[in-house]
C-alpha cells in the first residue's frame, strides 16, 4: 500500500465503505523499542520488585520491575524516559519520568500490554516473539492501523479482510494478494471418518466439513492472537482462534466440533424437534422450536446452525481431533433463530446478510491449512461437500448506454469494462456496445444492470458525475385542498396569537382517560403498539386533548397565559384495516389573554376568547359556523357548544371540565376547541359572493332589549336579520343587574338599515323596527328597555 492513510479512508468512504474510526496502534511509540532481558536480580529493599537489565543493542539500562513473569532471555518492550504510555493503574495517558524506586534508580520501564495501549492486560509484562530484533522500534514490530469500517448490509463480502482488500485493489489499481492455500493431506479419507446428511436443504444450501486429527490444543502464535485482538476478538486456543481468524480473513464463519464427541461421527443438518434444547457455548440452556435449524449428530443437536456451538461438542484441552464446519445457511433462518433466542454472534451477523455459497470451500481449506501449520494437526484427505442449493448465476446483459442513461455521464466502454474487471467481474463484449457480465461469486448483492451502474459510479467516484437540472416540462400538479386548508388554518391561528405545538402520537390509556371527569375511556378502545417503549407511549391517540392539557399544565409554572393549538392525526380502529387517521385541530387557552400591560387590566381568557380566535380563523376560511348549546363528556355542562356548519357538527368548544383540569394537575379554567378538519374541508374556501357596493346610505339605529336571562342572543339575531332592509346587526352591550328587573338581561344592538334602490326615510325604518319589536315581543317576550 502506497496510499496515505487518510486518502485511503476517503476513497473507501466514497465507494460506500466508511471508516467509522481509524485507530493507529503504536502511533506514540517513538521511545519504545525491543529489548532483551539479560539479567534479573532481587531488589535489595523490596521482596516483590526485581532489578532487570535490558540489552538494547547500544546500551544496557537497568530498571525496577514488579511484573511476576519477567525472566532472563525474554524479548520485551522497553520504554525509555519520556515515552508516552498508558498508566497501568489509572488507565490515563502518562509520560514516563525518571524514577527512584525504593532507593534504586530505574532507567526506564518494561511495559505491559495495558501500558502500551494494546489491551487492558496489566497482570505482567508483554513478552515479544523470540525473533524480535533487539533495539528495533516497537512500532515496526507491532504497530498497525485499524480501519473500523461500517459495512452496509448489502456487502457481507466486505465483512472480511479479503473483501476490503478487493475494494482497495479496485480503487487503487494495486494488485490483490490472496493467501496461498496448500497443505499436506493425510492418508485417511475424510469420507471414512465422518458423514454429513443435510435433511433440510431449504435452510442449508451447502455444508462442507473437514477432519483434522492429532491436534494439540494450546495458545495460538503471537501474531495470530494480535490480529484477532486488532479485529476485536479474544484469543481462546489455537483451534478456536483459527476458525475466528479465517472468519475475519475470508468472511466465512466456521465452527470446530470435538470430533470425539459427535455420536456416530455423523453430522445431521435438520430442523429442531419439538422439546429439544441445547446448552450453548455460553452455558445457557436454550429451548428450541421446530423452525430453528440445528446441527445434530445422530442423537442430539450439537450446534445452532449459524448462531452458536453447543457445549456438548465444544473443543477443550482434551480434544485431539476436530470436525471443521464451513457451511452456508439461509439468511432469514439464521436471523430468526438468533432473534428468537436473543443471541446475535459474529457468525449470525454474517450469515444474516446472505453469504455466498461458494465461500465455504476456500475458507475451509484455509482453516485446514492453518490447523496443520499451527495446531500440529493432520488433515484427513479431501473435504465433505454437500451442496443441494447450487444455482447457476446467468451473466447480466449490460448495454454500455445504461451508465449514460442512469448516471448522466458519458463513459467509454473500455473504462466501464476495466472498472468492472478490477472488481472481479468477468466482462465479455456481446456486441460493440453490449457487455455480458459475469458476477464474481462473492458479490451476492449484484443481480442486474442498475447494480453494475453503481459499481462503475462508486469506483469512478460520484464526484465525477455532472450536475444538471431536470429540463423536462414540470408534471401537472394535482390540487390538495386539505393541505392548503391546514396551512391557512395554521397561519390564521398563529395570527390569532396561538402557539403551534406538535405532540407525541402515542399515549397511555390513562392519559386518554384523564380527558373525562370520571376517568372513563372517551370513544373506542384505541389501537395499541405491540412493542411499546414505555406505557406512556403505548396507544395511538384518539384525541389531541390529553397532550394539549398536559402541556398547558407543564407550562403553567412559567407563563401567565397560554394559548396552544395542534393540527395532527387521531387514529380510530377499523376492522381488518389500517386505523382511520383523521386530521384534527385542537386548541386550548388558559390564563391571561394578553401579556400584562400598563394600559389595560390583566384579563383572563374565557370561552369567548377561544370562540373569537377560532371564529376569526373560520371566517377567513369562508366558513360561517353556528354554536349550538351542547354537552361533551370532557367539557363543563353549560359552557359547551357544538360547532355547526350548514347543519352538520364539525367540532366542539367549551370550558374543560374542572375535574378533567384536575386530572392533569393543571390550574383552571381552561378553554378548548376541537374540529374534525375533514368535516370542515367541504365548507372551507367555497368561493366569494361578490356584491356591488351600496349606492344609498344606511340608517343606523340602536336598540336595547330586555329579555329573560335564558333567551339566547342567537334567537334574537335570527329574528332581526330576517327583516327586510336590515343589512347589519352588532351587539354592543349585555347587562344584567340593578338597572333591569331580576331574572332579566338587557342586550343592546346597533342595526343598520339599507335599501339597494333608495335612501330610506325615517317612516320606513320606524315601520320595520315596530314590526321587529312586536315579533321579538311575541316570540321571545322582549321589550324595549326604558
Amino acid at each position: 500500500m502506497t496510499l496515505p492513510r487518510d486518502d485511503l479512508a476517503r476513497r473507501l468512504a466514497q465507494a460506500g465503505l466508511e471508516a467509522g474510526s481509524v485507530e493507529i496502534i503504536g502511533g506514540q511509540w517513538d521511545k519504545i523499542q525491543v529489548g532483551h532481558v539479560t539479567e534479573v536480580k532481587p531488589h535489595p529493599n523490596a521482596d516483590r520488585l526485581r532489578l532487570v537489565t535490558v540489552a538494547l543493542g547500544d546500551r544496557m539500562p537497568t530498571v525496577v520491575c514488579g511484573a511476576p513473569n519477567v525472566a532472563v532471555g525474554q524479548k520485551i518492550a522497553f520504554a525509555s524516559v519520556g515515552a508516552k504510555l498508558v498508566d497501568g493503574h489509572t488507565g490515563q495517558p502518562a509520560t514516563l519520568k525518571p524514577a527512584k524506586i525504593r532507593g534504586v534508580v530505574s532507567e526506564g520501564m518494561v511495559c505491559s500490554e495495558k501500558e502500551l495501549g494494546l489491551s487492558g492486560d496489566h497482570t505482567g509484562i508483554l513478552v515479544l516473539p523470540a525473533d524480535a530484533p533487539v533495539g528495533a522500534a516497537l512500532a515496526d514490530l507491532l504497530g498497525d492501523t485499524i480501519f473500523d469500517i461500517e459495512v452496509t448490509p448489502n456487502r457481507p463480502d466486505c465483512l472480511s479482510v479479503i473483501g476490503i482488500a478487493r475494494e482497495v485493489s479496485a480503487l487503487t489499481s494495486q494488485p490483490l494478494h490472496l493467501p496461498q492455500i496448500a497443505y499436506k493431506e493425510g492418508r485417511e479419507q475424510v469420507s471414512g471418518l465422518a458423514s454429513v446428511d443435510v435433511v433440510d436443504p431449504d435452510l442449508c444450501p451447502r455444508y462442507c466439513a473437514g477432519v483434522i486429527t492429532n491436534v494439540k490444543i494450546g495458545p495460538s502464535p503471537e501474531w495470530l492472537q494480535r490480529r484477532l485482538q486488532a479485529g476485536g476478538m479474544r484469543p481462546i486456543n489455537n483451534v478456536v482462534d483459527i476458525t475466528n481468524y479465517v472468519m475475519l480473513e475470508h468472511g466465512q464463519p466456521l465452527h470446530a466440533f470435538d470430533y470425539a464427541k459427535l455420536t456416530d461421527r455423523k453430522i445431521v443438518v435438520r430442523r429442531a424437534r419439538q422439546g429439544e434444547s441445547l446448552t450453548s457455548l455460553d452455558g445457557v440452556e436454550r429451548p428450541l422450536n421446530c423452525e430453528m435449524l440445528v446441527i445434530a449428530d445422530s442423537r442430539r443437536p450439537v450446534a445452532l446452525a449459524g448462531v452458536m456451538g453447543g457445549a456438548n461438542s465444544e473443543v477443550s484441552e482434551a480434544t485431539t481431533a476436530v470436525l471443521l464446519e464451513s457451511a452456508n445457511f439461509k439468511r432469514e433462518s439464521v436471523r430468526e433463530t438468533a432473534a428468537a433466542l436473543n443471541m446475535r454472534s459474529e457468525a449470525s451477523a454474517r450469515f444474516e446478510k446472505g453469504l455466498s455459497p461458494e465461500l465455504p470451500v476456500p475458507a475451509l481449506r484455509r482453516a485446514m491449512q492453518l490447523m496443520v501449520e499451527l495446531a500440529g494437526g493432520e488433515a484427513a484427505s479431501g473435504i465433505i461437500d454437500v451442496y443441494p442449493g447450487k444455482r447457476e448465476r446467468p451473466p447480466i446483459l449490460f448495454p454500455a448506454s445504461e451508465t449514460k442513461r442512469l448516471l448522466g455521464m458519458e463513459l467509454p466502454v473500455e473504462k466501464i469494462k476495466s472498472v468492472l474487471e478490477s472488481l472481479g467481474f468477468g466482462v465479455e463484449m456481446a456486441a460493440p456496445a453490449q457487455m455480458s457480465v459475469n458476477v464474481p461469486w462473492w458479490r451476492t448483492d449484484v443481480s442486474q444492470g442498475a447494480d453494475l451502474v453503481e459499481e462503475v459510479a462508486r469506483i469512478v467516484g460520484y464526484d465525477q458525475i455532472p450536475t444538471t437540472i431536470m429540463d423536462a416540462p414540470i408534471p401537472p400538479l394535482e390540487p390538495s385542498p386539505l393541505l392548503s386548508m391546514k396551512r391557512t388554518l395554521t397561519d390564521l391561528l398563529v395570527a390569532a396569537g396561538m402557539q403551534e405545538v406538535i405532540t407525541y402520537s402515542l399515549i397511555s390509556l390513562e392519559g386518554l382517560k384523564r380527558t373525562t371527569p370520571d376517568l372513563d375511556l372517551p370513544g373506542p378502545k384505541p389501537v395499541r403498539v405491540s412493542n411499546p417503549m414505555s406505557r406512556e407511549h403505548e396507544y395511538l391517540r384518539t384525541s389531541l386533548r390529553p397532550r394539549l392539557l398536559f402541556h398547558i399544565a407543564q407550562n403553567q409554572r412559567f407563563e401567565e397565559g397560554i394559548k396552544l393549538f395542534e393540527i395532527g392525526h387521531v387514529y380510530y380502529p377499523r376492522h381488518s384495516d389500517l386505523p382511520q387517521e383523521v386530521e384534527t385541530l385542537c386548541g386550548a387557552m388558559w390564563g391571561l389573554k394578553q401579556e400584562m400591560s400598563w394600559r389595560t387590566k390583566p384579563m383572563p381568557a374565557d370561552f369567548y376568547d377561544a370562540k373569537g380566535a377560532l371564529d376569526a380563523a373560520l371566517v377567513r376560511l369562508g366558513v360561517e359556523a353556528k354554536y349550538v348549546k351542547a354537552e361533551d363528556v370532557g367539557l363543563r355542562s353549560g359552557a359547551c357548544a357544538d360547532i355547526v356548519v350548514r347543519g352538520l357538527k364539525i367540532g366542539v368548544i367549551g370550558e374543560v371540565h374542572p375535574k378533567v383540569v384536575e386530572n392533569f394537575d393543571a390550574a383552571g379554567p381552561v378553554f378548548l376547541f376541537e374540529i374534525d378538519l375533514e368535516k370542515l374541508l367541504p365548507h372551507a374556501g367555497t368561493g366569494v359572493e361578490y356584491k356591488p357596493l351600496p349606492r344609498f346610505p344606511a340608517t343606523v339605529r340602536d336598540m336595547a332589549l330586555v329579555v329573560d336571562l335564558g333567551v339566547q342572543y342567537q334567537s334574537i339575531v335570527d329574528i332581526v336579520q330576517d327583516f327586510p332592509l336590515v343589512s347589519r346587526v352588532a351587539l354592543f352591550d349585555v347587562y344584567s343587574g340593578e338597572q333591569v328587573p331580576r331574572g332579566k338581561k338587557s342586550l343592546a344592538f346597533r342595526i343598520w338599515y339599507q335599501s339597494p334602490d333608495h335612501t330610506l326615510t325615517d317612516e320606513e325604518v320606524n315601520g320595520v323596527q315596530q314590526r321587529m319589536l312586536s315579533a321579538l315581543e311575541s316570540k321571545l317576550g322582549a321589550v324595549l328597555r326604558a
Partner: protein, 349 residues
C-alpha cells in the same frame, strides 16, 4: 400733566413686567388702556389745556398710549407662547413606554423547517402529498425491497402495531420513514411525477439528545424518461444551496438503501467552520443531510413503471436536523417537549 404721564409710564411698565398670565394681563390692559384708564382720561382732558400745553401733552399722551399698546401686544404674544409651550410639554408622550401588547403565536420549529423544505421543492415543480402514519409492512418494507428476514430491516427499528390478520399475511406498523409514500402515491399516478411527501415517522428507539422516537421526514420522488443521477445531484445541490447558503458545497458518496440503486449519501460542507472541522460537524468539515439514489428497478416495476423506459430518483431527509444544525439546538427532545420557553424562541421569519 406731562409729569403725571411720565410717572404713569414708569409705573405701568414696572407692573407689566410682573405680569405672567393672561388674566393679569387683561387686568393690566383695562387699568392702563381701558376707557377709564389714566391715559384715556388724560386724552379726554387735553381740551382743557392751553394750545401749547395741549400739543406737548397730546404728543406725549399718544406716545405713552402707543407704547402701552405695543408693550401689551408684545407681552400677550410672550405669554401665549409660554402657555403653548407649557401645554405642549404637558401633552408630550413617553415614546419609550411599551405599546399595547398583541398576542403572538408562532409556528412550531418543525413546521417552519418543513415549510421551508417544501417551498424549495415546490419552486422546482414538486407537488406535496401526504399519507398515513400507520402502515402495512408491505408499503414500509416489502415493496421497497426489504422483505421479511432481510438484513436491512435492522436499519429501521420498528414500532409494530397490534393487528390480528386472519390470513396471517399482513402486519401493521408505525411507518419508520416516509418512503412508503413512494409506493402509495405511484399506485395512483403515472409518470412523469415530481413529488415531495412530508410527514411524521416513528422508530423503536430509546431517546437521548440525538435520538427521538417520533420525528419528521420529507421524501422526494421524481420519475420520468431520462432522469439521471446528474439530475439528482443538481436538484439536491440546488436544495442545499437554497437551504443552507449559496456558497455551500455538496458531497455525494456511495451509500446503501435497498430501494435505490445506485445509492447516495449527501453531505454539505459545514456552514459553521466552512469545511475546516468543528464541533458541529464532528471535525469532519461535512454534515450529512440526506440519503438518496436512483429508484431501484424492482421498485419501479412495483410502481408499474418499466425500468427500461423510466428512471427516477428518490431522497429522504430528517426535518428536525435542519433547525438543530442551524440554531445549534443541543437536544432533539426539546421539539416535542413543547416547553414554551423553547418554542417561543423561533420566530419563523
Amino acid at each position: 400733566m406731562i409729569d403725571k404721564l411720565s410717572q404713569l409710564k414708569t409705573v405701568a411698565e414696572t407692573e407689566l413686567n410682573a405680569v405672567t398670565d393672561t388674566r393679569r394681563l387683561e387686568e393690566w390692559r383695562v387699568r392702563y388702556l381701558g376707557k377709564k384708564s389714566a391715559i384715556m382720561q388724560a386724552l379726554r382732558e387735553l381740551s382743557s389745556l392751553s394750545l401749547e400745553e395741549r400739543r406737548k401733552a397730546g404728543a406725549l399722551a399718544n406716545e405713552v398710549k402707543d407704547a402701552f399698546e405695543s408693550s401689551y401686544k408684545q407681552k400677550l404674544e410672550g405669554i401665549k407662547q409660554a402657555e403653548l409651550e407649557l401645554a405642549t410639554a404637558a401633552k408630550a408622550l413617553d415614546v419609550t413606554l411599551p405599546g399595547q401588547p398583541e398576542s403572538l403565536g408562532r409556528l412550531h420549529p418543525t413546521t417552519q423547517a418543513m415549510r421551508e423544505v417544501c417551498q424549495v421543492f415546490t419552486s422546482l415543480g414538486f407537488e406535496t402529498v401526504e399519507g398515513p402514519e400507520v402502515e402495512w409492512d408491505y408499503y414500509n418494507f416489502e415493496a421497497l425491497n426489504i422483505p421479511k428476514g432481510h438484513p436491512a430491516r435492522d436499519m429501521w427499528a420498528t414500532l409494530w402495531v397490534d393487528f390480528a390478520d386472519p390470513e396471517k399475511q399482513r402486519s401493521m406498523l408505525m411507518r419508520t420513514h416516509t418512503s412508503p409514500m413512494q409506493i402509495r402515491t405511484m399506485e395512483k399516478r403515472r409518470p412523469p411525477v415530481r413529488l415531495i411527501m412530508p410527514g411524521k415517522t416513528y422508530r423503536y428507539e430509546a431517546t437521548d439528545v440525538r435520538h427521538e422516537w417520533m420525528f419528521h421526514q420529507v421524501e422526494g420522488l421524481a420519475i420520468d424518461k431520462n432522469i439521471t443521477m446528474a439530475d439528482l445531484k443538481g436538484t439536491l445541490f440546488e436544495f442545499a444551496r437554497r437551504m443552507f447558503g449559496a456558497d455551500r458545497k455538496a458531497r455525494f458518496r456511495c451509500d446503501y438503501f435497498p430501494f435505490v440503486e445506485p445509492g447516495v449519501e449527501v453531505a454539505i460542507d459545514c456552514f459553521i467552520c466552512k469545511g475546516q472541522g468543528c464541533r458541529l460537524c464532528s471535525g469532519s468539515g461535512w454534515i450529512e443531510i440526506l440519503g438518496a439514489g436512483m429508484v431501484h428497478p424492482d421498485v419501479l416495476r412495483r410502481m408499474d413503471c418499466d425500468p427500461a423506459v423510466y428512471s427516477g430518483f428518490a431522497f429522504g431527509m430528517g426535518v428536525e436536523r435542519i433547525p438543530m444544525l442551524r440554531y445549534g439546538i443541543e437536544d432533539i427532545r426539546h421539539f416535542y417537549g413543547n416547553d414554551l420557553r423553547f418554542l417561543k424562541q423561533f420566530w419563523g421569519f
